[in-house]
Symmetry: C2
Subunit: 630 residues, 2 copies
């Protein structure tokens, strides 16, 4: 451990990653106290840790729980994942702490599009990066399969309902066996109960009951369930299906989302057990009947099959960092429209495995106003886990942008202002960092600021940022150089986090669940974003009314807002306040367990540029080595 | 081994499968002489055998090669997979032979639809059947991802070409680096070569060359590449994409196929090495330019990325039978429009692993007129492997149907004729069996008929069939009861196969490659189907002309014909002859390496019935046990 040979300048990520021979993952598992029956190997570099580990350790005390979030980023990203990994390399390989990194599985789409992979960078990476970025252990593929089985079931059911009488439908749904006896499939009792029918023999139902049971009467205009693919395919953003002759003219406009935007991904991230996952998948709402009642996956009879498709995906995947510290990769819900955090199950398992003296470092996607807020109010609410410390990652680059620096655009050269010392821009931009620190403190946890140093940052610039962080109330603020140095570059950060975790906390949620939907939205908008007021479009008002009537008002709120500003306007940098937050739409992810107010249009299917990353990606047939992944 | 406790009546497949504790797959691997570095574990019941095993055994002599095919089946299937598995259980667990079963990975779609799984049945199964039928080791998911990345690349490229000048396109495709230097990505040299441009510096190209290089000018009407999903989703059979505002009105009608119909699946089945797979994937033709030239995956720059996505899928998956004999599961090309056989790589590895005294039993999908014909003329042509023996599976039920028995319809009760002795129907129907035996003999291999006995079959009926088989020239014909008894029920069949394999063969293809497309089609139509003549629609004529001009006339032929009759009319049972075979369409799978003449409409996306299998499928959250798979 701690024997990385770091080169200057820092080589390409893939070259660093491929130069290190990973330890056999069984040894990493064994280092965590996992026995051979606690995990399933997927080759020699990945293993799925079984859910049963949680039961085994029911009486172990949890470790310290650290969430890594970021300030409002530039489009280039400020190294949140890299800091998460670097911090853990410091803790595990240099500070002799038991530590587990918990991160999201990246979508495969962007790997071939613009963005490249998501395994960290420089000398702070999860390896093998090709396994991390491609397929991994198949969880996203399982989500795709489950999501699309449900989608196929919706259209097929509408088709069959449109062409059959109530009696024929009922008889097909409950076919007679060889003795002529009909029976309900077990999943059907969920629907019977919902309809208030307590009979157990199909033949006992009245004709009216048979009709109500068999006919879901889905309103095509009310279907919110979309198909998904883990591919950046912009031409699937809006499509018409059912144009085949055999579908008899039942066409319908719909769309594909990227797979990580599936509600099933959000379910995976927030579930706490196999039973809980079964229930959540069954109660996912796919739309409403023409009478306005919610229609669920279990109404369609498919909740059990979805669970079967997800049976392995519920187990987190164990991998390792460049310095052989353990990583749990699990779930990757789209921060755009979902919780944006890795899974509760991975965090819970990790907290047991590191034990009371150890640390679990988990990453919250997007800026802290989105990712950390959802971590606290959604993820921690469902998990019952309480963080000890929030790490807020900042860069001089982003602070300069918030201080009024020129626009930062992906793919274009950085302005001179970002490459030379400019204390004034940094100073002005610290308002953004300060706001995030103050926000984090509202949850009653300890706050450490990690200043992720770039080669062009000066000591004076970093010191300005450090002071501003302390002034805003951070418990500590530390410069770190893990990208260039691996864990050795984050030892100070590691010490600061360990110290912060030793101090008392006083956790509280931002809002209780039992207030109205609008009150909850207002709490987030005013206390996290510093908005003056929230406005609602007529569609949003209607949705709030509908979901309240349907009984979903008690769910937590999952905001869909740009991460590039506290406001809804991505161009408003710094720490804007007093603005109006316009809610255009409200959606419900009932199975995942949250309501999604949309502030502006959220992209849920990326596209490919003229020259996608895939042009450079290939495989050397002689060595099997992957080329060109970034 | 050989210690199955068989119950009467035979329990449900899933109950039999779940009652047996599988051996650790590492032990199965070790029994085949595989070392720890020769395979990757995927849990304890699946392992991927590495391609490198082939190199390691370059000097080992191959084992005996047995292909299992079937007579023209009823819609219920005649137990070809079950016989394949049962035969291997007999050879491996009762006759002390080294044996490997090679089978296809089933599509997940039908598992949740009508058909159920495909792991064999009764006491002859591949286990765990839930792993076999769901996800397995992710190969089909990898195919889905690769297929759809290519599809997204096509539409995105057309979009970007429509909105940019030649110069802008070229500059984006070959962006300047920090020093202002442009370079070609390695994959681009394939296209440059095709265009006859031998320059290596982008700046050296003339404007005309830049335009030709950068603009693929794909004809939207000529695109043959479709998207795929491993879901039975009939509403995707015909769709319109690109209806989002951002796609600027570039809508297009297209479709999704079931994932196993992807040409990438066919490539996987027919490839022989990593290098060969890279080349095949790169030369897949997705359509043509407006000038009528074929456009390939490498023209789009994506062949390397597809290979990277398929890097694990190229390794076959090791599983086991109920009697602990080894099974290699690999590829599952749709017999409807592709080769319908499991992979060359799995067969080749297996033949090395069993050694010269051992046997490899591989299954050919569909009736023998389709599956076995393609095995011989496509698969064996590309592999260079030569079969020793063909096993033709027949049932009394199917023979009765061919003899004029009432229609057999899936989901409806069987007619009385099929449950009681009727020697006349059997005798009349033997013409079908005889034709298949004669056909098999045309390849110069040994032929053994396996009469797969059902509980209602009488000794006299079986004897009629046996005699007919011998009369048609089979080397042997044997009754087997592996469904009820496991390997013990197929010992006679095993002995017959071992004996047949000891006899000399004189293998020959049905047709050479260097005759015209029409001559090849005629050879199959007349010699295998007994057609009198072949007719071509104007579209088919046009396609044949086009493909001949494009240089694809030397490819072997992969007929797309119903398996329910030798003719194109599924209702013509028995052994029809003298009919006309109408070719409606001809497609090219250039990467996979065959031309596909379509005889009638072939369904490439199944649907869901009113009450799909998924209604019964669930998971017991307490035990993790899968329920209701069939």
């Amino acid at each position: 451990m701690g024997k990385l040979q770091c080169k200057t300048p820092v080589p390409e990520d893939i070259d660093i990653a491929q130069a290190i021979e990973p330890q056999h993952i069984a040894d990493i598992a064994s280092g965590l106290g996992l026995g051979a029956s606690d995990f399933d190997l997927y080759g020699t570099t990945k293993a799925k840790v079984k859910l049963s580990v949680l039961d085994k350790h029911a009486n172990t005390n949890n470790g310290n729980y650290v969430v890594v979030a970021g300030i409002t980023p530039t489009p280039l990203g400020e190294g949140k994942s890299t800091t998460t990994v670097g911090l853990c390399q410091a803790l595990g390989a240099h500070l002799n702490k038991k530590v587990v990194t918990c991160v999201r599985q990246p979508s495969q789409g962007p790997t071939f599009g613009i963005k490249g992979g998501a395994a960290g960078g420089g000398y702070s990476q999860v390896i093998p990066m090709e396994e991390f970025n491609l397929h991994m252990t198949g969880d996203i593929h399982a989500i795709t399969a489950a999501n699309n089985l449900l989608a196929a079931a919706i259209d097929a059911r509408m088709f069959h309902e449109n062409t059959q009488s109530d009696a024929a439908l009922f008889n097909r749904l409950c076919p007679a066996d060889k003795e002529g006896k009909r029976r309900f499939a077990p999943v059907m009792f969920t629907r019977l109960k919902k309809l208030g029918i307590d009979k157990t023999d199909p033949d006992d139902l009245t004709d009216e009951e048979k009709g109500r049971f068999a006919r879901l009467d889905i309103d095509p205009a009310g279907i919110t369930w979309k198909r998904v693919l883990d591919t950046n395919d912009r031409f699937l953003r809006c499509i018409t299906v059912g144009q085949g002759q055999q579908e008899k003219g039942m066409t319908r406009q719909t769309a594909f989302d990227i797979a990580v935007a599936s509600e099933i991904m959000a379910v995976l991230a927030l579930t706490t057990s196999m039973r809980d996952m079964r229930e959540r998948l069954g109660r996912m709402v796919i739309g409403n009947s023409k009478a306005g009642e919610p229609v669920t996956a279990d109404d369609l009879g498919v909740g059990g099959a979805l669970t079967v498709l997800m049976k392995d995906a519920i187990n987190p995947t164990l991998m390792q960092t460049l310095e052989e510290t353990p990583v749990l990769v699990h779930a990757g819900p789209f921060a755009n429209i979902a919780s944006g955090n890795s899974s509760i199950i991975a965090d819970a398992i990790a907290l047991k495995l590191v034990g009371p003296e150890g640390l679990v470092v988990t990453e919250a996607g997007f800026g802290a106003d989105i990712g950390m807020e959802k971590f606290m109010n959604i993820k921690c609410r469902y998990s019952g886990l309480r963080p000890d410390c929030a790490v807020i990652v900042a860069t001089v680059r982003a602070l300069k942008m918030h201080g009024g620096g020129p626009a930062v655009v992906a793919g274009k050269p950085l302005d001179h202002a970002y490459k030379t010392e400019n204390l004034e821009l940094v100073e002005k931009g610290c308002c953004n960092l300060a706001r995030h620190v103050e926000n984090a403190k509202k949850y009653g946890v300890r706050v450490v600021v990690a200043l992720n140093q770039f080669a062009t940052d000066t000591e004076a610039e970093l010191e300005v940022a450090r002071k501003a962080a302390m002034q805003a109330g951070a418990d500590d603020a530390v410069v770190c150089r893990h990208h260039a140095l691996g864990g050795a570059g984050a030892v100070d950060l590691g010490n600061a986090v360990v110290k912060a975790c030793s101090l008392p906390t006083n956790f509280e949620f931002l809002y209780p669940l039992n207030i109205s939907i609008k009150e909850k939205i207002k709490a987030i908008a005013t206390k996290m974003y510093a908005a003056a007021e929230v406005t609602y479009s007529p569609e949003a008002e209607k949705a709030i009314e509908l979901y309240t009537r349907m009984g979903f008002a008690d769910l937590p709120i999952c905001m869909a807002k740009t991460q590039y500003s506290f406001s809804s306007d991505a161009s408003k940098k710094g720490a804007p306040s007093g603005f109006t937050l316009p809610i255009k739409e409200v959606r419900a992810s009932v199975g995942a367990g949250f309501l999604v107010p949309l502030v502006g249009d959220m992209m849920t299917m990326p596209g490919l540029p003229t020259r996608p990353c895939f042009y450079e990606i290939d495989l050397d047939p002689d060595t099997g080595r992957i080329l060109g992944l970034s």
